[in-house]
Symmetry: C2
Subunit: 347 residues, 2 copies
Amino acid sequence: MATIYHVARRSGVSTATVSRVMKGGTGFSAATRERVLAAAGELAWVPSGSARGLASRRTGIVGLIFPDLDNTDEPGQDSPLYFDQIIRGAERAATAMGDAVLIAGSRCATGRDLVFSVASKVDGLVVLAGSLSKRDLDQIGRSVPVVLLADRAAHRGMDGVAADNRGGARAITSHLIVGHGYRELAFVGGVQRAPDSMERFAGFRDALKEAGLSIPEAPAALGGFTESGGELAMHEILRAPRPPEAVVFANDQMAIGALSTLRRARIPVPAQMAIAGFDDIAAARHVRPALTTVRQPMRDLGEQAVRLLFERVAEPDGARRAVLLSTEVVLRRSCGCGARVRAGATS
Amino acid sequence: MATIYHVARRSGVSTATVSRVMKGGTGFSAATRERVLAAAGELAWVPSGSARGLASRRTGIVGLIFPDLDNTDEPGQDSPLYFDQIIRGAERAATAMGDAVLIAGSRCATGRDLVFSVASKVDGLVVLAGSLSKRDLDQIGRSVPVVLLADRAAHRGMDGVAADNRGGARAITSHLIVGHGYRELAFVGGVQRAPDSMERFAGFRDALKEAGLSIPEAPAALGGFTESGGELAMHEILRAPRPPEAVVFANDQMAIGALSTLRRARIPVPAQMAIAGFDDIAAARHVRPALTTVRQPMRDLGEQAVRLLFERVAEPDGARRAVLLSTEVVLRRSCGCGARVRAGATS
DNA sequence: TTGTAGGCGTTATCAT
DNA sequence: ATGATAACGCCTACAA
């Protein structure tokens, strides 16, 4: 395998000059440049990333840590699709800076192992909420810059970016109340203490309070963020003596599951019961009736997180930042809206 | 930042011993091990990935090159979702071997350079069909092992894995003919010379031929693999003097677009026209009527590609291999099937 | 504009 | 079981 020495010899210059040409700045004649590039091409030489990283102390890689990229083998069971969008956003932002993205599920590797295999290979890390324990997070934060994604548990000394879950939930709930006149509303959460679920529930309560309606202590049901969980949750709700006029779900997948239950129960949506979700996954448009929901700027989340990371890498001691991205209500038929219109953004 | 020297000094051993302990094999006493680990922990030391890579000639990273991770800002326009599944499969296989996955889109402005910079950071590359020109591919193949994904244009001396597109298309078309008795079938392709589209069309023709029906020279229409393209393609088909009884689409997104057109035209599916797609994306289950389609084992594709890559890295001169993964027909309502049953696999 | 040379943090090969 | 030390391939002052 060719090295910089071979290229230098072949093009009749020093390794320093080869290095300069490869870096792309200035400090060499056009003729030299051509000779070097030609030699590099002939030898099929690519500068070693490892050697470069070692000498320059930059790997040109940003890492992305997920809670668990695939815990299910059920093909139909789409595990959180928003991961994918986040990856895309991150990839875009990184590519724009000439960096690449390293992805790793935290699944089997915990703490030290992960630090090992990933932290040492990157210039910085974007960590999704729920990927790491606080302990591991702190430890990893000691060896590389870290940006927290969708994790409002603002950790000491770490940058973070998140979507305005609360504002979005508040906005869509207000729409149901003000726009359609519903007075009996219920909320279906995901998992017991999941931050996302809790924030959205808080927004739901904000809207009820604002409208002077009585506000529940807890979600009417929990659906585990899955489609089947949503079906069950809806069954639970239908068993109540007096079912609500409208139900807000903590995510789209549960809402879609609920639509199945309602169809089987021959309860017309939205005529007899209005439904709203959260996320705006692709299926939300295809389901009948099309699902009214709140769009999260997932791609932007990934993009902003990487940008923030670059800033931190460039200026390690700068003030920490917390970026909040606004969400957007997407009105479709399931809430009672006739057409598919978009309402304003929150925050 | 701590280095191996600091750790060695602090634990009273040589750097060689620290290195051995970190590698995890044997060749040191338990007591030594403890001391080293303790020192490493206290100093928050993580072995530098670059230095490791330089010395050992292994980065512990496999690269994944895509045609273009996101060329659209249209949130509804899901660019090929199967990328995501492939990423997941690759991540899983790599993690199982203790490696990480580096992803990079290729078509953006800085794409070409990026690809080469990625090549130098990884032990091997999985390249998706359509990411690189043959020239670039050959060149890159000279500096790292490459596995081609979903690219049947069997390149000289490269391993490859792909799905059985032709067999899948043949199987679903046969189902329409044999299972439902349709005799007038049409095929809608994606892009003019796209390999996927062509292979699926070939499978479609295989089935017609087998049934003794007349086989068309070319697809009845082209829909560019997009939903809106599918809508247009269906309009085109409806303009024909004698529309077909069943239409097979080169992918699900186009088929879903076609369903919209048919709904607006008040043509009942499958009663008056049966529809079949390809891929089995998530939306295929949610659309009404639910879409009959062919499932591609996308996750497996990613997984197998990475496995193959590891084999090649371990044994650079082994015989090249071409892996073909079987597809599976998924019967839903759009073809005329009453229930949602699964038929057998191909190949 | 170009060359010289020291160092980046590990691993691996010999010794012991 | 452990230590000394030469690579590993590149970058970057510093010189010329």
